[in-house]
């Protein structure tokens, strides 16, 4: 089969045209078919699907609608309270703490997504080479992802919290003086972001490894024959070929980072002086510690809106990659 005929077959397949003919022409369906759309079989299928659909509606739509109701009311955990419209959203957007949390969430997410992607990609490329005990390395590298966050957060706290902890001791020996990793606002942000990269890179490594595994090695050999350098091969072959998986992993990691509560809560609790308070933590504190249900849920809604926008943008990139 020639490449032209393959491309034609793919096009036909996308149009839903079988090999035997042109299929049904576009236009309204025959009247007889419309009448038979809801056959007993269709009803049976709907009935089978209904329990799952109802369950999904109850599990997803109901909480969402209830949360929206709370966001539009001035209530507590026990009472919905009076209707206040969009006031909670306005109040939240006027809060300096909301914008400082937004700012940190952006930093945390950008570092978390791209930091973990870079480390994950580098390790997945390394693991493609023939290194001794590669399987063992893979398992060891997965540990940060596997270990419960509460355990790793405790370990990181032990590593950096007090002047007698290993990292401050090393820093002092290196001549940096008494480095306050969690007490200094800027350093606390750095530590939290690094911790996020550390617990997330195995996920990226797995995603990138699976994407790289699907790349035909003959392409690299051909590029080598054509005189391509390693960097050119990586930039012009590897990255485009794994682009789809990369975008998917970015979408997922963005969601993971924006919604990440335990990493920050367990390591710094959002401090010092709110330096590491993210939006999800602010929403939690607002609802469950300040007992301001409406504003807290409004923060969560704003987060969801931004996440949807980011996901749509990245998803469009995936479609673009598919078309290309």
């Amino acid at each position: 089969m020639t490449s032209t005929s393959i491309a034609e077959s793919v096009k036909r397949a996308r149009r839903g045209v079988g090999p035997a003919g042109a299929g049904r022409k576009p236009g309204p369906a025959p009247a007889g078919r419309a009448r038979k759309r809801f056959t007993p079989r269709t009803w049976t299928l709907i009935a089978f699907a209904a329990p799952s659909l109802i369950l999904l509606l109850l599990l997803n739509v109901y909480p969402l609608v209830y949360a929206l109701i709370q966001a539009l009311h001035d209530g507590t955990l026990l009472e919905t309270g009076p209707f206040v419209g969009l006031k909670n959203f306005g109040d939240v957007l006027a809060l300096p703490s909301f914008w400082s949390a937004t700012s940190f969430t952006v930093v945390f997410t950008v570092v978390g997504v791209f930091g973990s992607w870079l480390v994950g990609l580098a390790l997945s490329l390394l693991l493609r080479t023939h290194i001794p005990a590669g399987g063992l390395f893979k398992v060891l590298l997965l540990l940060p992802w596997i270990v419960p966050t509460v355990v790793s957060a405790t370990s990181w706290n032990w590593l950096v919290a007090t002047p007698q902890s290993p990292f401050p001791v090393i820093a002092e020996h290196l001549g940096f003086g008494n480095v306050l990793f969690l007490a200094d606002p800027m350093l606390a942000q750095v530590v939290v972001c690094l911790f996020k990269v550390w617990i997330s890179f195995p996920f990226m490594m797995m995603m990138m490894s699976s994407a790289l595994a699907s790349v035909d090695t003959n392409v690299y050999e051909a590029a080598k024959v054509d005189g391509a350098t390693g960097w050119q091969s990586f930039r012009l072959i590897t990255l485009p070929l794994i682009a789809r998986t990369t975008f998917v992993s970015w979408i997922l990691m963005t969601i993971f980072c924006v919604n990440d509560f335990p990493t920050i809560f367990l390591l710094t609790g959002g401090g010092p002086a709110h330096a590491t308070t993210s939006l999800v933590l602010l929403a939690y504190l607002t609802v469950f510690q300040n007992f301001q249900t409406g504003p807290g849920v409004a923060i969560a809604f704003l987060m969801t809106f931004v996440l949807v926008v980011i996901s749509v943008v990245l998803y469009r990139q995936i479609r673009k990659v598919n078309v290309e």
Binding site: L77, L78, L182, T268, G271, A273, F288, N290
Partner: protein, 436 residues
């Protein structure tokens, strides 16, 4: 081929599925009395106040309850601290909550405001004839009394008291402090041997430095709320107390990393003998453990710059709910529980300080000199979050009971913000949060 007699048609199967789903949904919707109306037993929910042994023994005490004829028995449920506000709120909203529970220190006051709490006045009156009423430590019962009556019954006490490491103080050539000036002197001596004399843990979620700071404000005759239950923070007494804290910080008596410390980090510093003196929880020595624990001693209540004594304490409590199979049954169980809870202290389950004199008088409790000193010397001068305006707690105290607002206040003070600025910011935050 022989077919089963129990073959089911597709329509029949779907019908069965539909019926099951409907029954399940109706059952879920109709679940009514928890603590509870439809239930025949009283639900008692208690928090993990100590080691795992606490809930085991507590469950045994509860299940050992033999009600009088016609009154309900009791069931036991341990509720974890994680998201406990949500646990109780959702249970009460769905009428599946307990008939009796402990919980957060201000929980009863919040729920009373929303009409969920059964007043304990009748119960407390009945205790005047059986000796329980007179058995409470002085002033403790009053902390639960509101205009609408007693919303709960004191159960155990938490407090912030002055601790020092005896050996380190001796090594530094200092004497145990008795007032703020001698505290600063002892801290200065400790600094000379590379030990911090002003222990603190200011972590935003796992620290309690704000409690120590408010304790010092109360020590100086100040506090958060006035007689009208309104925040009144920018006072001379509070500024003076914060200046004492700032002096400790500026002179290097506080570990500069303490602003990020959790209670666990602070415990490890006590254990490593990097902390030699400070204000901490009553069970500090047990929390620290190891060889250092035996050196930790509770000091005397300090006389402040204004010549006053005082401390912050938290009367944890047990509340009764209106959603009960029998109010008489709830009160009968409470009486049984208070007459039989002594073992929770004598068997050393890690629960806070007792509220009953008879428990404090047991040989087991008397064997711990630190605990005895706290009950004998600190409890009489200690006040609640309601100070200086009042004694009894009230619902708006929930805005300062380990909330972001007060945690921020603590971090602002520890980070060196001026006393007046820190108090003004806290005042503004509380005023914006408290609507009534």
């Amino acid at each position: 081929m022989e077919t089963s007699r129990f073959t089911t048609s597709r329509r029949g199967f779907l019908g069965l599925v539909g019926t099951s789903a409907a029954v399940a949904a109706l059952a879920a919707c109709s679940t009514g009395g928890g603590g509870g109306g439809a239930s025949s037993s009283l639900k008692f929910w208690n928090m993990p106040w100590g080691t795992p042994a606490f809930n085991t023994l507590d469950s045994k005490i509860t299940l050992g309850y033999k009600p009088e004829s016609g009154l309900p028995g009791a069931t036991y449920q341990a509720i974890q601290w994680a998201n406990f506000n949500q646990t109780f709120s959702s249970a009460l909203a769905s009428k599946t909550g307990p008939a009796i529970s402990s919980g957060g220190g201000t929980q009863a006051f919040q729920f009373a405001k929303q009409g969920f709490i059964a007043p304990a006045d009748g119960l407390i009156d009945s205790w005047k004839s059986n000796g329980i009423y007179d058995d409470f430590l002085p002033g403790v019962l009053d902390t639960m009394k509101t205009d609408a009556g007693y919303v709960a019954v004191p159960y155990n006490l938490d407090m912030r008291v002055n601790w020092y490491n005896k050996e380190l103080l001796e090594k530094a050539g200092a004497t145990p402090p008795t007032d703020w000036q001698s505290y600063l002197d002892a801290a200065a001596a400790l600094k000379k041997i590379d030990v911090y004399g002003f222990a603190a843990n200011g972590n935003a979620s796992g620290g309690n430095a704000f409690q120590m700071i408010v304790g010092l404000m109360i020590n100086n005759g100040g506090g958060i709320f006035d007689e009208e239950h309104k925040p009144n923070l920018v006072t001379a007494a509070n500024i003076e107390a914060l200046e004492f804290v700032r002096e400790n910080i500026s002179k290097g008596y506080m570990d500069p990393a303490a602003i990020s410390y959790t209670a666990t980090n602070a415990n490890s510093q006590w254990k490593a003998e990097k902390f030699g003196m400070g204000f901490d929880v009553p069970n500090l020595a047990a929390n620290v453990g190891g060889a250092s624990a035996s050196q930790l001693v509770v000091g005397d209540p300090l006389t402040s710059a204004s010549g006053k004594k005082g401390a912050l304490y938290f009367p944890n409590n047990i509340m009764m709910y209106k959603n009960t199979p029998s109010q008489k049954g709830s009160e009968a169980f409470m009486t049984y529980y208070y007459q039989n809870m002594k073992a929770l202290w004598t068997q050393n389950t890690g629960i806070g300080l007792p509220v009953l004199k008879s428990i404090a008088a047991t040989p087991e409790f008397q064997s711990d000199p630190n605990a005895v000193k706290i009950v004998k010397m600190w409890q009489p001068v200690a006040k609640t979050w309601a100070a200086p305006g009042g004694t009894a707690l009230f619902s708006n105290i929930s805005y300062v009971d380990s909330t972001p607002a007060i945690s921020d206040f603590g971090q602002n003070v520890l980070s060196g913000k001026s006393s007046k600025d820190a108090l003004t910011t806290f005042q503004a935050t509380l005023t914006s949060l408290i609507k009534d």
